[in-house]
């Protein structure tokens, strides 16, 4: 370290200059934007996340959901295409016999380990029944354990698609190991 740097005072002043420069540039831009009507001048804005949110893009890949049939049962026929294509091996399906021979097969178990998921969206692409989608708009899920990151069929079936601006319409699923 050079001597000048050892006296922090100089470096602190340098830092203050950078901050102040940003402050006055932004102040100028905001003034131009709002007071003088220069709409192309855009100052930096802070979004008060999570109270305030910017709209999500419609093609955002968020938490998965399982699409339901009219009677509420999963549309999934447990063909294992998503499980096969999944590069993270995070989908666990166990197939069972459906009482209706026209449907024939349904998932007795359909777990997604979100601790492993890489949100590539291949499962959605691979699904021949359009039974899995990543359109819930939910991005904030967390857990105190690995086990809690495994979302079950029941949880995924209960989710609704996000609204038109990408706002989630379903509450964030709470893992079993966490109290709200």
């Amino acid at each position: 370290m050079r001597l000048r740097q050892r006296f922090y005072l100089v470096e602190v002043l340098v830092g203050l200059r950078v901050t102040a420069a940003h402050f006055f540039v932004n102040l100028g831009r905001h003034t131009a934007h709002y007071v003088f009507g220069r709409k192309d001048a855009r100052g930096a804005v802070t979004v008060q996340y999570p109270e305030e949110r910017r709209p999500y893009s419609l093609r955002l890949r968020s938490l998965h959901r399982l699409v339901r049939r009219e009677d509420g049962s999963p549309r999934c026929v447990a063909c294992m295409m998503c499980e096969t294509v999944c590069p993270a091996h995070c989908i666990y399906i166990v197939a069972a016999e459906h009482p209706n021979p026209e449907i024939e097969k349904y998932p007795a178990r359909f777990d997604i380990d979100l601790g492993k998921c890489v949100f590539c969206g291949y499962c959605v692409e691979a699904c021949p029944e359009d039974a899995i989608r990543m359109d819930t708009g939910i991005l904030e899920f967390s857990s105190y354990s690995r086990r809690g990151m495994i979302y079950t069929k029941e949880t995924l079936l209960a989710l609704e698609p996000a609204g038109p601006d990408g706002t989630p319409r379903s509450p964030i699923p709470i893992p079993a190991d966490r109290t709200p």
Binding site: A78, T84, V94, E104
Partner: protein, 534 residues
Amino acid sequence: MPKLTIDGKEIEAPAGTNLIEAARRLGIEIPHYCYHPGLSIAGQCRLCMVEIGNNPRPQIACNIQVAEGMVVRTETAKVLATRQSIMEFHLINHPLDCPVCDQAGECWLQIYYMKHGLYEPRMMDEKVHKPKAVPLGPHVILDAERCILCSRCVRFCDEITGTGELGIFQRGDHSEIGLFPGRELSNPYSANVIDICPVGALTDRDFRFAVRVWYLETAKSICPGCSRGCNIEVHYNLRRPHHNQGRRVARLKPRYNREVNRWWICDAGRYGYKFVDDPSRLLLPARRADTQADEVVWEEIIPLVAARLSAYRPEEIGVLASPQMANEDLFLLRRLVDHLGIPNVDFRVPSRASGDEDRILIKADKNPNTRGAELIGLGPRPGGLDARGVLRAARERRIKCLWVLHHDLLLSAWPEEETREALRALDCLIFQGSNANGVSPSAHYVLPSATWVEREGTFANFEGRVQRFWKAVEPVGAALPDWEIIGRIGEALGMGPLPATAEAIFKALAAEVIAFRGLSYRELRDAGKPVASS
């Protein structure tokens, strides 16, 4: 032999060979559904069309025999257009079931559709609906919509088993496969129709939805269900352990061997593998003091067992080898028995249930290696007792230590009470086997062995054909192949070092046992070789 040309390549084939087989020898695949080398020719599917000479129309290759100077072309524009039309025809009423169909991944309709299909469907009409998910018998389930009416299954039941349960009913596009009234597809070979069904019409009830076929891996093996020694493939799943309720071996499939089972296996053999992933598997070696069983490690139990075996006089020890064991195990056991000078050795324990037998494949002897045990010589030594004699002597306390390999003596043809009494009277009972049975709970030492899919080795079938089986999965728990357990005990008793592989033991076996002379483990290859005729 007629000489002909297929796609510009010359081949000589015996008279009577059809064009599909002749082309196969050249490595040319002519697509087909209804033709099966083990069945009569039906000419139903019309897919195997080829052009012959200057004939104006393509002809079916399955029903045309080779002839001198024939010129066959299998990939001309006309042939390809015909194939595409015929595929379109087959798919008119075929449902888009692939996601739920167990055949997906090994379906010839999928394979030929990808190769020759018309990708833009022209059918506008509603497909004809037929019964789905109909059980035909204990093992087979039918989806009539998926059937392409190749009639292989019908011909199988007519020609191979002669039971004739199946037929084609109705006419035109309403034709469907079905059972004759009052019949059930329950003959002892019924599940073979699943293998020969080229599409997903006939699927396996036992394998239904268990594992998708693309997760399966295969190992060549030999069926241990009877002394026929049918060649099989073991299909196992290790990639998705949550499938099939955690069972690793998912199914057995027949493997072609002209000399033994051709294309078929019986249902008893096909579904007889369930013990491999059964909860009754013995996982760790155990030592019992009073009523308490302690699980221990091999390093601890081998010297204990060796010490017990050397503590008794040889005539106080009985050894009951099993014809379920491979030649390599039996050979090392014989070496050990000879090393200790034990006269009371046997492998014949008659089972209580009398075995069924037929003229197709099934043999009454339900052990895969009785012939091997005979040839290697695990019968009583001069002056020694046979199995029944050993148990009698145990009751009279003349035999003090008994080493039982695999046998469930309580299920033998002998009175159960007598056997129990003999086991109780023993000073030391050693049980070696893969699963818990009637003997294992009373054993003082339990040695867990690997099942046949967890190791490699050879069996000799009833005709004396020595056939190799390969390892599919790892042994469960601490289980070891029988030869390794026997070899380690032998090592502790000064019999010499433990052989490194099954192959090394086979080499010694071929050098020492006359019947096996001249055989080499590698040279057995897939189809096996007969022992020297005595």
